[in-house]
C-alpha cells in the first residue's frame, strides 16, 4: 500500500512540475521572448557561481567527513611509497582541478549575455597553445617519473630472505601452502586435485618435496618486518589477492602464476592497538569478479612475531601426513621453518 502511495505522490509531483514548466513557457510568450530569455539567462548565470561556490565547499566538506575513514598509516613499506605517490598526485591534480573549475564557472558567470557586451573575435593564439601543451607535459613527466620509480621498486625482485607462501584462489575461498623445512614447494598437477581426498591443490605425492608442505585454508601467518613473497595462482577462474592495508594487489590467474612481495610493519596485535579496534584483522579481499560468491571471498593474514610464527608452524600438520595418516613424515620441524628462503 505504501508503495502505491509513493508512486501516487511521485506521479503528482511529476504532473505539478510539468504544469509549472508549461505555464512558465506561456508566461514567457506573453512577456516577450527577449525579456524572458534575459531573465532565464541571469538566473542560470547566477546559478553557475552558486554551483561553483557550493561545489568547492562540498569538496572540502566531503574531505573533512571522510579523511578519517579512508586508510590510515600503511602497514607495509611499499605502502608508504604508494601513499607518498598518492599525495604528490593529489597535490598536482588538486591545484589543476580548483583552477580550471573556477575559471570555467567564473567565465560562464562573468561573460553571460548582456546587450552592451560584444563577443571578442579571438580564434587562436599560438603562444597560449604552446603554454598549455608544455606545462601539462612537464607536470605529467614529474608524475610519470615518480610513479615509475616507485613502480619498479615495488615490482622488483623480492629479497633473498623473503618468506615464501603460495596462495591459491578458488570459488570462493583461499588456500595457502608453506614449503615446509626443505624450503621447497613440491610439484603439483591440477588433475590430481581432489577435495574429497584432502588434496585441494593437486600435490604429487611421488615428489618427496611435497611431503612436508603445509596447506591451510583462509588464514595465513607471516612474520612482522620480514619480507614475504606470495606466489599466486588460481584453481578455477581469475581472482585477485587484494591487501588493502599493505597497499598490494595481484590477480590470481589459472595456469599462469604471479607474484607480489612486501614487508609488513606491524603485527595484527599492534594494529588492534593503533586503530583502537579489538576486532581488527588484515583481510584479503578478492578484487576480481569471480562469480556469485565474489563478495564473500575473505581471507585473513595474521602478522605475528618470529617466535609466535615458529610456534604456529610447528603445530601444523603437513598435507601429506593428513592424507597418509600418522605414520607419514611429520611436518616442518620448527627450528628449520624460518629458514624458508627464496633460493628455489
Amino acid at each position: 500500500m505504501s508503495t502505491f502511495f509513493l508512486l501516487l505522490i511521485l506521479f503528482f509531483g511529476f504532473l505539478i512540475t510539468f504544469q509549472i514548466a508549461k505555464a512558465s513557457e506561456y508566461v514567457g510568450v506573453l512577456r516577450g521572448e527577449k525579456k524572458n530569455f534575459e531573465q532565464h539567462n541571469r538566473i542560470n548565470g547566477f546559478l553557475m557561481i552558486v554551483f561553483l561556490v557550493l561545489g568547492l565547499v562540498g569538496v572540502w566538506y566531503c574531505n573533512e567527513l571522510y579523511k578519517g575513514k579512508i586508510l590510515g598509516e600503511s602497514a607495509s613499506k611499499h605502502g608508504e611509497e604508494i601513499d607518498r605517490m598518492l599525495y604528490i598526485t593529489i597535490a598536482i591534480t588538486g591545484v589543476v582541478f580548483v583552477i580550471t573549475q573556477i575559471l570555467l564557472f567564473w567565465f560562464a558567470f562573468k561573460f553571460q549575455y548582456s546587450e552592451k557586451r560584444k563577443a571578442h573575435y579571438f580564434p587562436h593564439d599560438n603562444r597560449l597553445e604552446v603554454i598549455w601543451t608544455v606545462v601539462p607535459a612537464i607536470a605529467l613527466t614529474v608524475l610519470v617519473g615518480f610513479g615509475l620509480f616507485y613502480w619498479f621498486r615495488i615490482t622488483g625482485e623480492a629479497p633473498q630472505d623473503a618468506l615464501q607462501v603460495e596462495v591459491t584462489g578458488k570459488q570462493f575461498g583461499w588456500i595457502f601452502r608453506y614449503p615446509g623445512h626443505d624450503a621447497t614447494f613440491g610439484k603439483k598437477y591440477y588433475q590430481n586435485i581432489s577435495d574429497k581426498d584432502n588434496n585441494s591443490l593437486g600435490l604429487i605425492w611421488d615428489d618427496a618435496n611435497t611431503h612436508d608442505d603445509v596447506v591451510v585454508n583462509n588464514e595465513m601467518y607471516c612474520v612482522v618486518n620480514r619480507p614475504i613473497k606470495l606466489i599466486i595462482g588460481s584453481r578455477d577462474v581469475i581472482h585477485d589477492v587484494g591487501l588493502v592495508y599493505f597497499r598490494q594487489k595481484m590477480d590470481a590467474v589459472p595456469g599462469t602464476p604471479t607474484t607480489l612481495w612486501f614487508t609488513p610493519k606491524f603485527t595484527t596485535e599492534e594494529m588492534k592497538k593503533k586503530l583502537g579496534n579489538p576486532d581488527f584483522e588484515y583481510e584479503i579481499s578478492c578484487d576480481q569478479m569471480c562469480g556469485k560468491g565474489h563478495y564473500t571471498m575473505r581471507g585473513v593474514i595474521k602478522v605475528v612475531g618470529a617466535d609466535e610464527y615458529k610456534l604456529w608452524l610447528a603445530k601444523q600438520k603437513s598435507n601429506y601426513s593428513m592424507v597418509m595418516g600418522e605414520k607419514a613424515a611429520p611436518a616442518g620441524a620448527p627450528a628449520d621453518s624460518t629458514k624458508t628462503t627464496a633460493k628455489n
Binding site: 511529476f14 566531503c62 579512508i70 563577443a119 577462474v237 595481484m250 581488527f280 584483522e281 583481510e283 579481499s285
Partner: protein, 608 residues
C-alpha cells in the same frame, strides 16, 4: 544496390520529383508509412531511430542501476514489491539475490557503454549531422545505413531477450573475462545468457562497422563544393575519428568473442588452462591457454571504446560552446590536432587496464608513459573550451548548460585518470570504487551530458519544434548536482580500497564504514534517475506539442544544417546544395554577430 546508393547523392533524383527515374522504384512521390518511418533510408529518420532506441535502453539500464543501488544502500531491507515483480528466484523475500545482482551490474554496464553511449550517441549524431553539416543529400550508402540500424535493433532484441531466460543474463561483468564467462558450471549467467550476450555483441559490432564505414566514406567523398577538410565543423572531425577508431578496433573485439565462443562450445583452449571446478568437482581437460589473452583482445577495443564514447560528445560540446558564446571556438587546428592525437594514442594504452594481471613491469611502464601522454591533448582541449568562454557573450540555452557541465565533469574525471594510469597508484586503486567514480564521471556523465547538449541543440532541426526550457533547466541542474553527489564521494571509498562488484560489504572489517554513505548515494541516484524521466517526457511531449520553430536558423549558427528548410525532406535541400566559402566559426567577426558558411568572403575580408 550501389546504383541506388549513388542515386541519393545525386541532386536531381531527390529534389525534382518529376524527373524521378530510379529504376528500382524504391522512392515514389509519396513515401508509405513503412518506407518513411520503419525501413527508412533517410539519414535523419535513421538518426531518430537510433536516438529513441538508445533512450529506451538508457531507461532500462538506468533502472537496473536503481535496483542494485537499492541493494547497496539497504542490504538488509526487504522490498516485497521486488519479489512480486521479479519472482522468488531473483528477489527472494524482497531481497535481491547475488546472482541477480551480478546480472544487473553486468547488463547495466553492457547496455550503457555499448547500446546507449556508442549506438545511441554516435548512431544519432553521426547520422543526423554528417550529411547535413558537410552538405550531402544523404549518406554514401543509405541502404547500408539502414542495415546498420536494423543490426543494432536485432542486437538489442537478442540482448533484451537474454533478460528473460531461466538461468538469467550474462553476469560476469561487462568485460566478461574468461574463464568465468567461458564455463557455465562456474556461474549461472555463463550458461545460455552468455551465448546470447556474445551473439548480441557480434550483431552490434556488425552494426557499428556498417555505420562507421558509411560515416568515413561520406565525410571523405561527399562534402559539398568548398567544404575542405579544414572547413568542417568540429562535430564532423570528432565523428570522423570516432568512426575510424570503431572500424579499426571493433573487429579485434569480435575475434576475441569468437575465440570465447570456441572455448565455450568447440572444446578449444584459447583462454582455458588448468581448471578444477568446485561446483562439479571435476578437472577440465584444457591446458596451455591464457586467460590474459582475452583481456588484451578485449581492451584493444575496450580502451578506444571510451574515446568512441567521448569524442562525439567533445565534438557536440565544441560546437555548442562556440555558438552560444557567440565567438569562434578557440584554436580550431589545435582542437583537430588534439582529436587526432587522442585517436592515435587510444590504440596504444590498452594494457593500463591490466597492471595487476602479472603483466611484465617493464611493459607496464611503457603503458604508463603512453597513458599519461593522453592527458596532454585532453588538457589542450579543456583550456581551449575555457578560452572559448572568455570574453564571449554567453547565452545559457539548455544545450549550453549541458556543454559547460560536460567540461566540468570532463576535468574532474580526466584528472582521476592520471591516478589510475600511474601503475604504482593503480595497485591500490585498481578495481575499487575509485575506478567506478573515475569512469562514470569521465565516460558516463560527460558522455551523457554531451549527448543531452546535442539533443537540446539539434532538437529544433530534428522535429521543427522546441523542447520546454523550464523542464530542461530543472533537468540540467539536478543532473549535474546529482552526478557529483553520487560519484564524488566514491573516490573516498576507493582510497579506502573498497572493491567494486561486491554484493554486500557488511561482513568486511575493512570496508563496512561506508554504510551511511552508500545509502546517501542510493537515494541521490534514485532522484537523479527520476529527473531523467522528466527529460524523456519533455522529449516526447515536445515532438508533438512543443513550440514551433519559426525561423530556419533559431540559434544564429553558421553551419549548413541551418540553411536547410525547417523540416527538410529526404535530400535535405530543395534545389542546389549550398556552396561553402569559409570556416564554420565566423562569430563576432568584423562586427557581425555571425556569418554563415555559405556566404562568400567580402571584398576586404580576410579568410580565417
Amino acid at each position: 544496390m550501389s546504383n541506388e546508393a549513388t542515386a541519393h547523392g545525386h541532386p536531381e533524383v531527390v529534389t525534382t520529383h518529376e524527373s524521378h527515374h530510379d529504376e528500382h522504384g524504391v522512392h515514389h512521390h509519396k513515401e508509405t508509412f513503412i518506407t518513411k518511418y520503419v525501413f527508412s533510408q533517410d539519414h535523419k529518420m535513421i538518426s531518430k531511430q537510433f536516438l529513441i532506441t538508445g533512450m529506451i535502453w538508457a531507461i532500462i539500464g538506468g533502472l537496473m542501476s536503481v535496483l542494485f543501488r537499492l541493494q547497496l544502500g539497504y542490504p538488509d531491507a526487504h522490498f516485497q514489491f521486488l519479489e512480486d515483480i521479479l519472482g522468488s528466484k531473483w528477489a527472494k523475500d524482497g531481497q535481491i539475490q547475488p546472482e541477480f545482482y551480478y546480472a544487473l551490474v553486468t547488463m547495466h554496464g553492457t547496455i550503457l557503454v555499448f547500446f546507449v553511449l556508442t549506438g545511441g550517441l554516435s548512431g544519432t549524431f553521426a547520422n543526423f549531422l554528417i550529411p547535413l553539416q558537410v552538405g550531402a543529400r544523404d549518406m554514401a550508402s543509405p541502404f547500408l545505413n539502414m542495415l546498420s540500424y536494423w543490426f543494432f535493433l536485432l542486437a538489442s532484441i537478442v540482448m533484451l531477450s537474454s533478460l528473460f531466460i531461466a538461468t538469467g543474463p550474462a553476469s560476469g561483468g561487462w568485460t566478461s573475462y574468461p574463464p568465468l564467462s567461458a564455463l557455465g558450471d562456474a556461474s549461472e549467467g555463463s550458461k545460455t545468457g552468455m551465448d546470447l550476450w556474445i551473439i548480441s555483441m557480434a550483431l552490434f559490432v556488425v552494426s557499428s562497422l556498417l555505420g562507421g564505414l558509411n560515416y568515413i566514406s561520406t565525410i571523405l567523398n561527399m562534402r559539398t563544393k568548398g567544404m575542405s577538410m579544414t572547413r568542417m565543423p568540429l562535430t564532423i572531425w570528432a565523428l570522423f575519428f570516432t568512426a575510424i577508431l570503431g572500424v579499426l578496433s571493433f573487429p579485434v573485439l569480435l575475434s576475441g568473442f569468437i575465440l570465447l565462443l570456441f572455448d565455450r562450445h568447440g572444446g578449444t583452449s584459447f583462454y582455458l588452462s588448468e581448471i578444477f571446478l568446485t561446483a562439479t568437482n571435476k578437472a577440465l581437460p584444457n591446458e596451455g591457454g591464457s586467460a590474459i589473452l582475452y583481456q588484451h583482445l578485449f581492451w584493444f577495443l575496450g580502451h578506444p571504446e571510451v574515446y568512441i564514447i567521448i569524442l562525439p560528445a567533445m565534438g557536440l560540446v565544441s560546437e555548442v560552446l562556440s555558438i552560444n558564446s557567440r565567438k569562434p571556438i578557440f584554436g580550431y587546428m589545435a582542437m583537430v590536432g588534439s582529436l587526432f592525437a587522442i585517436a592515435i594514442l587510444a590504440f596504444l594504452v590498452w594494457a593500463h587496464h591490466m597492471f595487476v594481471t602479472g603483466l611484465n613491469p617493464f611493459l607496464g611502464s611503457i603503458f604508463v608513459l603512453l597513458t599519461l601522454l593522453i592527458a596532454v591533448p585532453s588538457a589542450i582541449k579543456v583550456f581551449n573550451w575555457i578560452t572559448t568562454l572568455w570574453r564571449g557573450n554567453i547565452r545559457f540555452t539548455p544545450a549550453m548548460l549541458f556543454a559547460i557541465g560536460f567540461v566540468s565533469t570532463f576535468i574532474s574525471g580526466g584528472l582521476t585518470g592520471i591516478y589510475l594510469g600511474n601503475s604504482a597508484l593503480d595497485i591500490q586503486l585498481h578495481d575499487t570504487y575509485f575506478v567506478i567514480a573515475h569512469f562514470h564521471i569521465v565516460m558516463w556523465v560527460s558522455g551523457i551530458l554531451g549527448m543531452f547538449a546535442g539533443i537540446y541543440h539539434w532538437f529544433p532541426k530534428m522535429y521543427g519544434r522546441y523542447m520546454n526550457n523550464t523542464l530542461a533547466y530543472i533537468h540540467f541542474w539536478v543532473t549535474l548536482i546529482g552526478a557529483y553527489l553520487i560519484f564524488w564521494p566514491m573516490h573516498y571509498e576507493g582510497f579506502a580500497g573498497m572493491p567494486r562488484r561486491y554484493f554486500d560489504y557488511s561482513q568486511w572489517l575493512s570496508f563496512n564504514q561506508f554504510g551511511g554513505l552508500n545509502r546517501f548515494i542510493s537515494t541521490v541516484a534514485m532522484i537523479t534517475f527520476g529527473v531523467q524521466l522528466l527529460f524523456v517526457f519533455n522529449f516526447f511531449y515536445s515532438i508533438f506539442k512543443g513550440r514551433r520553430v519559426m525561423t530556419r536558423n533559431p540559434w544564429g549558427a553558421t553551419t549548413l544544417e541551418w540553411t536547410a528548410p525547417i523540416r527538410p525532406g529526404h535530400g535535405n535541400w530543395p534545389g542546389e546544395i549550398p556552396e561553402v566559402h569559409r570556416w564554420p566559426y565566423d562569430y563576432a567577426k568584423d562586427g557581425r554577430d555571425f556569418i554563415p558558411q555559405n556566404e562568400p568572403l567580402g571584398a576586404n575580408e580576410s579568410a580565417h
